[in-house]
């Protein structure tokens, strides 16, 4: 909370973001390269799935970051809604496109993985469906922003959409319990994360942190960009002069 109120000041935020963004970018690059290297050459193949198990290092972090992005967007929206803080609106808005991209990556990689391990790209399974809905929600959120020229209203409506839509997150999480489903948490090949052997856990974690920093870098640069654009707009034509007289 202290951190939040500290950064709520646009100037301080700008200073922070200018320093943090490049650091995030570099960390992302290093971690993702390391993750790919370890994932492709330094981790064992699966007895059942063979090399296709390596798709996991793309898929699982991607859906995680997609969900995290949505959560961040909803939280920032809540903050913006209550305190009418435009910076938080910008932050929420900046989360949407990267979040949608990660979700789409998760869907694509999942589909590819599905083709190799279940023999089908798509299945109407609970988790897959609710992840698709997550993508729809991101698109809906962005469509609200695009759909009106009145920025102030767009921000508030989009914020509400983000907050209400966050009920989809637990649905993704618990969908595997509600549907009798293909996508199991601990299926043939994958025991629960804590039980994972380190050789699999390491590349997974490398990729997860790499994606996280990449996401952070994207969001910070997008916010910086929109802040500077807003200050460009400040020069506006003069307003009406007013005179008051008594009849």
């Amino acid at each position: 909370m202290g951190m939040i109120s500290f950064l709520a000041n646009p100037l301080r935020f700008k200073k922070f973001a200018r320093i943090a963004a490049p650091i995030f970018g570099v960390l992302a690059l290093v971690l993702i390269i390391a993750g790919i290297w370890v994932g492709l050459w330094r981790s064992p193949e699966d007895q059942l799935q063979g090399h296709s198990v390596r798709i996991m290092y793309v898929h699982v972090p991607a859906v995680w970051i997609g969900m995290m992005a949505y959560a961040a967007m909803a939280l920032a929206s809540l903050f913006a809604y209550i305190w009418r803080h435009t910076l938080a609106d910008e932050l929420a808005r900046a989360c949407a496109l990267p979040g949608a991209a990660f979700t789409a990556l998760g869907l694509l990689s999942g589909a590819l993985w599905g083709k190799t391990s279940w023999g089908t790209f798509w299945q109407w399974d609970g988790r897959m469906t609710s992840t698709l809905i997550l993508l729809f929600l991101f698109i809906g959120y962005m469509a609200v922003w695009a759909g009106t020229t009145d920025k102030r209203r767009a921000a508030r409506i989009a914020g509400l959409v983000a907050m209400v839509g966050s009920i989809n997150l637990p649905i993704i999480k618990f969908s595997v319990d509600w549907w009798n489903t293909l996508h199991q948490t601990s299926s043939v090949s994958m025991p629960d994360a804590p039980g994972l052997p380190p050789s699999i856990l390491l590349p997974l974690m490398l990729m997860t942190f790499g994606y996280s920093f990449f996401f952070g870098w994207l969001v910070l640069s997008r916010v910086l960009n929109s802040i500077s654009k807003a200050s460009d707009r400040r020069q506006r034509p003069a307003a009406a002069s007013t005179t008051m007289e008594t009849l």
């Binding site: 809604y81 609970g126 469906t129 609710s130 809905i133 729809f136 929600l137 698109i139 809906g140 469509a143 609200v144 759909g147 009106t148 102030r152 209203r153 508030r156 409506i157 509400l160 959409v161 907050m163 209400v164 839509g165 009920i167 989809n168 649905i171 509600w178 549907w179």
Partner: protein, 221 residues
Amino acid sequence: MSRFSGIVIRDIRIALRSGGAWLMGLVFFAVFLSLSAIALGGEFKTLRPLAPALIWLAVVFSLLFSFEHLFADDADDGTLEHIKLSSMSMHIYVLAKICAHWLLSILPLILALPLAGLLFDLPVSLLGGLFISIALASPALVCYGAFSGACLVGFKGGGFLLVLLTIPLVVPVLIFALGGVISYADAGLLATEFQALLGISLIATAVGIPATTAALNTITE
């Protein structure tokens, strides 16, 4: 007359004067079921197992589009501004609109259900399950639809977003409802799916009405 009933009566009156437009949902329901039956081959043998799903889909889609105009008309013609300036709380307005909408759109569907059952030659137990699942889920559908409708006011692009915003909630409702229809035969009213539907409806009402109010309040900002 109380404000609440004033709004409900006004909305019903406007609907009745609209030359039958308020029956659109019901007509869609009927058309959807007939066309589906025709398209899927028209044999009772193939249709009967699909019937609960088709009926539920008909309910969802016939409702989906009705929300576009729920608040848009009042917003476009400026009525909403005057409501906001009055001493009436926006919550009452939203609640009354939702109730009127329930009466105008869900009630006819529920009343038409036996006919739909006849169309597919459904046993009474399935029909009962359908009836209970629709009744239990309807507050959730209406509240969530109202929220999406309120978000869209002034967007023109209306329906598109409406659909995007509404389906995340509709999916679990659909799944629990269809599960409930099956379980009802054995478990009766105590089917766990019905409890889930009730829970969803309670949450949707508790979240939906304030969220709808908040969305409507942005119009005047």
